[in-house]
Symmetry: C2
Subunit: 192 residues, 2 copies
DNA sequence: ATACTCCTAGAGTAAATACTCTAGGAGATA
DNA sequence: TATCTCCTAGAGTATTTACTCTAGGAGTAT
């Protein structure tokens, strides 16, 4: 593995474990088994490492194809989508825990992340209508109600893992399933 | 105002504005218009200041009486409760934004906060049953479903403001009302 | 062989940060 | 007046942090 990759992997692990504020570039270099000078050869500073990690995260969001392309989606596919979301968020949990602070202190980071997130939100909108067209759910006629439901589901999927961590719960398959159940509970009154 | 109060008020403001990591004790002292030595006369370190702010927050949660005591509650009272919650969370928003990190690095803080939060959660449980008994809502017979609904409402009320901030929205009365509407949307299918 | 590019180590530095220490002022009490 | 407690200022220090600089190794092209 190249030094650059080692730095990014190590930084991600340390950030997830201790938070960005508690991890210095020297810590990262030491944990990655390289010299500080070498780290600064590959990255200008800590901010740039964070940016690169967000770039990886963005790429993950943009490339993953959650739905099967060969048939119409059924309601269980929605569960699979949500679980995939949780997996990704858990992989980059430092980012979601510290989102407000990280986005505030780096305008470029903010712009990129929000653009990708916006596309994700629109994709989710599409997804719901795909399910609706396929007859899996019955969206309310009032589009504002549908929007509110979507907003609730989005909020749960974005903050469920953080909420688990606040409660001091281990994050595992079963807890993720509970998060899926909550979202299911929200749309349950609107199932076909 | 005493120096101690000045320190706490200033720290709260700076933490809310810039996050705890970006604010040093020297910053706090300077912004409060006192000397660093004086700050350290009143507090052993930054951690102790944060603890004291959490203590204030805990006291706020424990003392506020959201419901009118002189009559049975109606559904609009629930809105008032949620709005009060948002006000308190907004006042101490640094805490809710950085909750995972702050609780992890201070076991005592964690224990106190979670205990108060647990009582709040139980109070919310009571509240829902009070509404149910008063005929304002009709909770589902299956207690697990009722619990899931409660969990969803709790998650929204705890993370709605953070979600607004991530979206770059100004936090104001109207946006708080939208957060209230989302919770209302969750329980709407179960209104009497 | 020479040179050139890419990468790496590690010593070194300026600034920031958390925290200490000493000297002393203000007001109450003896 | 003397003393005692409580509070305050501000200089000073050890450590950490971000970041720089120089010397050189490993391949590859000439």
């Amino acid at each position: 593995m190249s030094a650059r990759e080692k730095i990014l992997d190590t930084a991600l692990k340390l950030f997830n474990d201790k938070g960005t504020a508690a991890v210095s570039t020297n810590h990262i270099a030491e944990a990655a088994g390289i010299s500080p000078g070498n780290l600064y050869y590959h990255f200008r500073n800590k901010e740039e490492i964070i940016r690169e990690l967000f770039q990886r995260l963005n790429t993950t969001w943009e490339t993953y194809q959650p739905l099967p392309q060969d048939r119409a989606p059924i309601i269980n596919d929605l569960e699979a989508v949500i679980k995939s979301n949780y997996q990704i968020i858990w992989q980059y949990r430092f980012a979601y825990r510290e989102l407000v602070a990280l986005l505030r202190q780096d305008a470029e980071l903010r712009a990129n992340f929000l653009a990708v997130r916006q596309r994700g939100y629109e994709g989710f909108h599409q997804l719901l209508h795909t399910f609706s067209d396929a007859g899996a759910i019955r969206l309310p006629d009032d589009p504002q109600i549908a929007n509110e439901l979507q907003e609730i589901c989005w909020l749960i999927s974005e903050f469920w893992l953080t909420s688990l961590e606040v409660n001091g719960r281990k994050v595992n398959e079963a807890e993720m399933q509970r998060g899926v159940n909550l979202i299911r509970r929200v749309i349950q009154p609107y199932l076909a």
